[in-house]
């Protein structure tokens, strides 16, 4: 009884902090979802674009730029990182996964170069969370309001874009590149633009994280991809993915639920070092489920991706 009570009370006390964190990480999950689901392009750039956004934002804040300008710079660099991955794949016909690994690895050095050291404190710099009225800065509620508003705005924008004529064309590139090209859609432009957009979402997430936690660190992206995938899968299980708006809502909903689950596990006494193993096992289970359900005969590959 005691164990349950302690677990529950520490979990409940952490809900607001976790919620603020999960809303921030919702963007990186969106940055993982767009390549995977909208463009059938398994993209690993986010593992490097997330700390890139953080480092750029950290350096910009330390140099005295406004928090909004710092986020803008992070968006631009994240966009370039995503475009690079897509370009490497398209131009040199390198497998999408390898292109992502190349960019992500090179970004580690770039991030170190940008900051000049492995971590940078920006504690005391102005952040966008200071601008939330009626909320004490530094408390989770300010973060929840600020990031919640940005999340809703971005979800609405994405939902609008992907049902326009242009957005439908971008989705066609993911669904069937040969057909898309035959319908006059520029596959290169759609792919580079789409992966670039995803990169800037990952960078936005990193930038907001730095403003939230008060420091930037080159290692802040370690394992973010697998966490994001787990969150995406939970989100898709909850809200579905058969309609465009459901697919777009899944990363945000998934991030909120996933990080509360992680918080619950930690409150129940799971050692933090085991977290990545548990997350990896969860993602593996979700991916293996269709073939496990089909019994021993080889299940048809559920996902088809560009190579």
């Amino acid at each position: 009884m005691d164990f349950l009570q302690i677990t529950l009370s520490s979990f409940v006390s952490l809900i607001p902090v976790t919620l603020a964190q999960s809303l921030i990480l919702g963007f990186v999950v969106a940055g993982i979802m767009i390549p995977f689901r909208m463009l059938s392009f398994p993209d690993l750039t986010s593992e490097g674009a997330f700390p890139l956004g953080g480092c750029v934002c950290g350096v910009a804040l330390a140099a005295g730029f406004s928090p909004l300008a710092a986020i803008g710079m992070a968006l631009v660099t994240g966009f370039i990182a995503g475009c690079s991955t897509a370009f490497i794949h398209l131009r040199f016909r390198i497998h999408t996964l390898l292109a992502g690994i190349l960019v992500m690895t090179m970004l580690y050095s770039v991030n170190l170069r940008i900051m000049g050291r492995s971590n940078l404190s920006v504690f005391g710099s102005e952040t966008i969370f200071d601008w939330v009225p009626f909320a004490q800065p530094g408390f989770p509620i300010a973060k929840i309001i600020a990031v919640g508003i940005i999340s809703i705005a971005i979800f609405a924008l994405l939902n609008f874009f992907f049902t326009t004529e242009k957005g439908t064309a971008v989705r066609a590139v993911g669904a069937n590149p040969v057909m898309a090209e035959a319908q006059g859609i520029n596959v290169w432009a759609a792919t580079i633009g789409g992966i670039g957009l995803a990169g800037s979402f990952s960078a936005l997430s990193g930038a907001l994280m730095v403003q939230s936690q008060g420091f930037a660190d080159v290692n802040m992206g370690l394992g973010i991809l697998i966490n994001g995938l787990a969150a995406l899968m939970i989100g898709e299980a909850i809200v579905g993915k058969d309609k465009v708006w459901r697919q777009l809502l899944a990363p945000f909903a998934g991030a909120i639920v996933y990080y509360q689950l992680v918080s619950l596990c930690l409150a129940a006494g799971m050692p933090p070092p085991d977290l990545k193993l548990a997350t990896g096992a969860f993602v593996l289970l979700m991916l293996a489920l269709p073939s496990l359900r089909g019994g021993r005969q080889a299940a048809a590959a559920k996902e088809s991706f560009r190579e």
């Binding site: 874009f161 004529e165 439908t168 989705r171 066609a172 090209e181 319908q183 006059g184």
Partner: protein, 259 residues
């Protein structure tokens, strides 16, 4: 109007397995021509179609549609002129998207896509009407993802998508070969009706000699990357399956003598 001038394409150039796919191919189609292309495997039918659609770049020669030289253009920039139905029903449609979304993509083929909402009520009504011509019930399944349709339904949808907007040139790449006989008939009949109603300039590749006899106003037989035989006008109206197969036979004899 389609003009192909001295089209040449060599695969594996300079290597022991060098293969001449197109060997100085010349072809002119007048507006409204419905040409059926036949020929044995490796004769250059697919290469010709791919060269026209842009999937294959020519080593030399030129391709002009309605006075517009498209030889150097990539696939997506030719789409304003050309619509294509592939042999594989999977290739011509976007499987994970709905019937209506596929129709939208086809409607915007080669046009500027705006940032306005795509599927408005006017368009949906138009798609419903155009799909009802097929008599397959697709008009009531606009929100169904195409992957849930049968191969025949997908191919019929591809056809409606291709003929919409009256393309300058319609390419049919053995588009009934993967279908069962009854569905193949439905798709073929719909093809002929659309081509005649819209007076489309059409190039249809087929291995079905009966189709070559029954449809179109010209038969073109390819061999070793160039046109070996052309039948048009009066002769086309009187040609029989036996005649066409006879031409294949002489070719085989000659090949045996040459080897």
């Amino acid at each position: 109007m389609l003009q192909i001038r001295a089209a040449r394409k060599v695969f594996y150039k300079g290597q022991p397995d060098e293969k001449v796919a197109l060997n100085g191919l010349d072809l002119t189609l007048a507006n409204g021509d419905f040409a059926v292309v036949i020929g044995s495997n490796g004769a250059g039918k697919s290469s010709m179609l791919n060269a026209i659609s842009g999937a294959l770049r020519l080593d030399s020669g030129s391709i002009v549609i309605n006075g517009d030289d498209i030889t150097a253009r990539p696939v997506h920039k030719r789409a304003a002129h050309i619509a294509r139905v592939f042999q594989d029903p999977m290739l011509g449609t976007a499987a994970s998207m709905t019937v209506a979304e596929n129709m939208l993509l086809a409607e915007l083929r080669g046009r500027r896509r705006s940032l306005r909402h795509g599927l408005n009520a006017k368009r949906l009504a138009d798609y419903r009407e155009r799909l009802s011509i097929l008599g397959l019930g697709l008009e009531d399944r606009l929100d169904t993802r195409v992957e849930l349709l049968s191969g025949g339904q997908r191919q019929s949808l591809s056809l409606i998508m291709a003929v919409g907007g009256s393309p300058d040139l319609l390419l049919l790449d053995e588009h009934t070969a993967a279908l069962d006989p009854r569905t193949a008939d439905i798709v073929m009949n719909a093809t002929v009706r659309a081509v005649e109603a819209l007076k489309l300039t059409t190039l249809m590749v087929t291995h079905n000699m009966q189709h070559a006899v029954d449809f179109g106003n010209r038969v073109i037989m390819l061999d070793a990357g160039r046109i070996r035989l052309e039948i048009g006008g009066e002769d086309k109206a009187n040609v029989t399956v036996a005649d066409l197969i006879g031409h294949f036979a002489t070719k085989t004899d000659r090949m045996m003598l040459a080897s």
